[in-house]
Assembly symmetry: C2
Homo-oligomer: 470 residues x 2
């Protein structure tokens, strides 16, 4: 494990709060070791730092009561969705209370006429889409995991559809949240747009639970398109594939999904998901539109791909075949882990301007080769965002050091290219040291906002900010 620094614990305060909440929540407050460890767990190489207790609220009011108790006694509060974040977001370096929102999982309203819905934070993206399907609607944001919508908002998640539909920041109309003093606020109404004061919705989205706990989300929905066409196309190199992506975006094709898998990833997907894809760099695509429109988009892409040596272009409108392909894409994390059983997976998450994509991906491949790291690449390349999943033997200190060096090298490269160290995973514990380099003096003002809203630093301490709390 990579060690995460522990922070000073307020033992007395935490003990008092656990006692108070035990009174109120009974069996809905758990302190067993296994459940605590599970709530510190994230899919990462950062060591587990379990909270002191896990509480399962059923309502916003209950979340408010929990936070008020924690505020009074200065005990840390960590919101927990499904535990699928990748940078140690739910770890408890100063101990405290994990607020597991999985039992707040109701779809409260679907306003099909307004193309929006209101959900509790524990609803997962798949649950929501199952709920919506009959009404011809869907919610487009799809990180790899079946994450909770509250957690997706907190990390400003995106996924394969972002190139067309944007990220969580673009698809939330307003939020209800419990703030660090326990007050319940609503950041906006249901209007499509508003100029009424500061954008607290976007301030809470991506704040990783450090400014409050999201207890309700009003989400924008999309109509399921009349036609969906999926396609795949193989390329002689990742460079060629990225060149085709760049041209597609620059040409303005309103592609809904355009995903890169390098040959290592394709191999992993074939083995894990029982596919028989040609084991060379591959683009997976999806086009949404009217029947004519989707086909037209696919044809345009086909012509562009050809220019860059793309071959074996195959389009399909069959739901079953399409679902199988996308399920395989969503399972890539697990598929890649199988390439080296026993290894840990460490995912990078850089995002660069699209014009630098080919250069960045190629440099990344070369660097991994140079360091002899097994590092399959997948990417939401239409956004300029890609992931390498480093497969590391955590017992091998040299290898861990090499991986750490690689991650730093790649983040620095992306920042130099006017990109970001994190396109969609967030900062958490793992990327805190890169934030100052990326944002410079802006960080001072983020810290000022944090201090103003959470003066005692009880909301998810030890995340995002590099220096303030160790």
């Amino acid at each position: 494990m990579v060690q995460a620094k522990s922070l000073r614990r307020n033992e007395a305060g935490i003990e008092t709060v656990v006692g108070i909440l035990k009174q109120q929540f009974g069996d809905r407050l758990q302190t067993g070791q296994a459940i605590r460890e599970q709530h510190g767990h994230t899919t990462t190489w950062i060591e587990n730092q379990p909270p002191d207790a896990v509480v399962f609220p059923h309502s916003t009011q209950e979340v408010s009561e929990i936070v008020k108790a924690c505020a009074t006694h200065k005990a840390p509060v960590i919101a927990f969705g499904t535990g699928t974040s990748l940078e140690g977001h739910v770890n408890a370096p100063a101990g405290g209370i994990s607020v597991d929102l999985s039992q707040m999982n109701k779809v409260l309203a679907v306003h099909s006429g307004d193309l929006d819905c209101v959900v509790q934070p524990g609803v997962t993206r798949e649950e929501l889409n199952t709920h919506l399907r009959d009404q011809g609607l869907f919610f487009p944001i799809d990180p790899g995991a079946n994450a909770s919508l509250g957690g997706m908002a907190a990390t400003r998640a995106s996924g394969t559809n972002a190139v067309r539909y944007g990220t969580m920041k673009d698809n939330i109309l307003s939020l209800e949240a419990v703030m660090p003093d326990g007050q319940i606020i609503r950041t906006g109404q249901r209007a499509r747009k508003s100029s009424a004061g500061y954008d607290l919705t976007r301030l809470m989205v991506g704040a990783e639970g450090t400014l409050g706990i999201i207890t309700e989300l009003t989400l924008r929905l999309q109509g399921i398109p009349e036609a969906i066409t999926s396609a795949r196309c193989v390329f002689p190199s990742v460079d060629a594939a990225c060149q085709a992506v760049m041209m597609t975006i620059q040409y303005g094709v309103p592609v809904a999904r355009i995903e890169l898998l390098d040959e290592v990833s394709v191999k992993a997907a074939n083995a894990y998901s029982g596919l028989a894809l040609p084991e060379t760099p591959l683009l997976l695509l999806e086009f949404h539109g009217s029947t004519g429109g989707a086909v037209e988009q696919a044809e345009t892409f086909g012509q562009i791909a050809e220019e860059f040596g793309g071959t074996d272009f195959a389009a399909t409108s069959t739901t079953e075949e399409r679902n199988k392909l996308w399920q395989a894409r969503h399972d890539m994390y697990w598929a890649s882990l199988q390439l080296r059983p026993g290894a840990r997976g460490i995912s990078t998450d850089v995002c660069v301007p699209i014009s630098r994509l080919a250069e960045c991906v190629t440099a990344t491949r070369n660097k991994a080769k140079e360091l002899e790291l097994l590092a399959p690449i997948v990417g939401h390349v239409g956004d300029g965002n890609f992931h390498t999943l480093l497969l590391i033997d955590m017992e091998n200190a040299d290898e861990v050091a090499k991986a750490d060096g690689f991650v730093g090298w790649l983040n620095d490269l992306a920042i130099e290219m006017e990109g970001t160290c994190t396109g969609e995973h967030g900062i958490g514990q793992g990327k805190r040291s890169y934030l100052a380099k990326e944002l410079g003096a802006a960080l001072t003002f983020m810290e000022a906002v944090k201090k103003a809203l959470d003066p005692d630093n009880i909301m998810n301490p030890g995340k995002i900010f590099p220096a303030r709390d160790g």
Copy 2:
């Protein structure tokens, strides 16, 4: 004029700063009455409260020096773009320095491969689009006025294209800003998406200059569509027109523009812009896409319109005819003023969920009739946003009181319908009393952010917040 409360002035501080800046800026600092009044002027009924001096910086560094001087001596700083805001945003109720950014008007870079550009805040939307045209690109946000991009960001502006392309919040990748202590920050890089810390970009967008001065904007651009089709369609009533809009949005037609003009507005447009439109409620539309796609969208709309009694449906792809129609739409404010020469125009700006649109517009018309107010209606109805322009004789106290009552009634109605009192104009001075009603406890946290970033309240004081500064 409607009186705006003056705030306590820091005479000594302001005098000192004016002296310091006069030294540094020479002729680029002006204190003449006419220029000061011009910089307090907004297209509104709120009385003019001129600043003490107007300064014209040429660089971010100069803006920083101005703000540092003001911070040291606690003198107010008011950013000024083109003075076309509608709620007294550039008034100086506590005096101070107006920072006129019109000479910071360079397009610094166009990255056509990344579909973005970097501009100074004084560039206007028309200037930018003229600059971009040769490269096949455009920036879609188009408030009625030829506003500056810095001002548009500060008020979270939108316009006729927002139904398809979003508002300023959706089309800014990152900002450079001078903060209240004079520090220069950059809120992000040029990546399409990022999860790196708090969304300071969206915090500055819509903050109306109360948290800092925007000195550079990195904007998302769009490719000029292959085909643009405009259309108009007349309806027997505004209710019928709104019903057609609701159905179009719910059906998922990716309409680029869908604008309502009631019969009074049509009359005004005909007279002012030399058109011969039928004088009944009218929808103006635009469809962007491939040649086939744009026509397909127009046909779908035509069918929907028919269901609601729409007639006289006419589509055109001629650039000249299209431009004439949209110019007339953008000139509506001036056209409406001509309906009653000598009157002031007071624009409302409510935005409601689309399912409540027909009900809200109809109630608004009835209320205006009941109060015998001349109040043409236009609207970006695809977003649920519409404006009534009350034409008021400001010498007639009864009429002013009726208008004031009408504005309050409408804002309350929109808020009750889960909408907002301002879809795109902002709060400024004029709407401060409605913000608490709309956002409740959330306002407390906006104030906490303001206080943390601008403890001496020097950045555009007397705007947005109802109570804090009188």
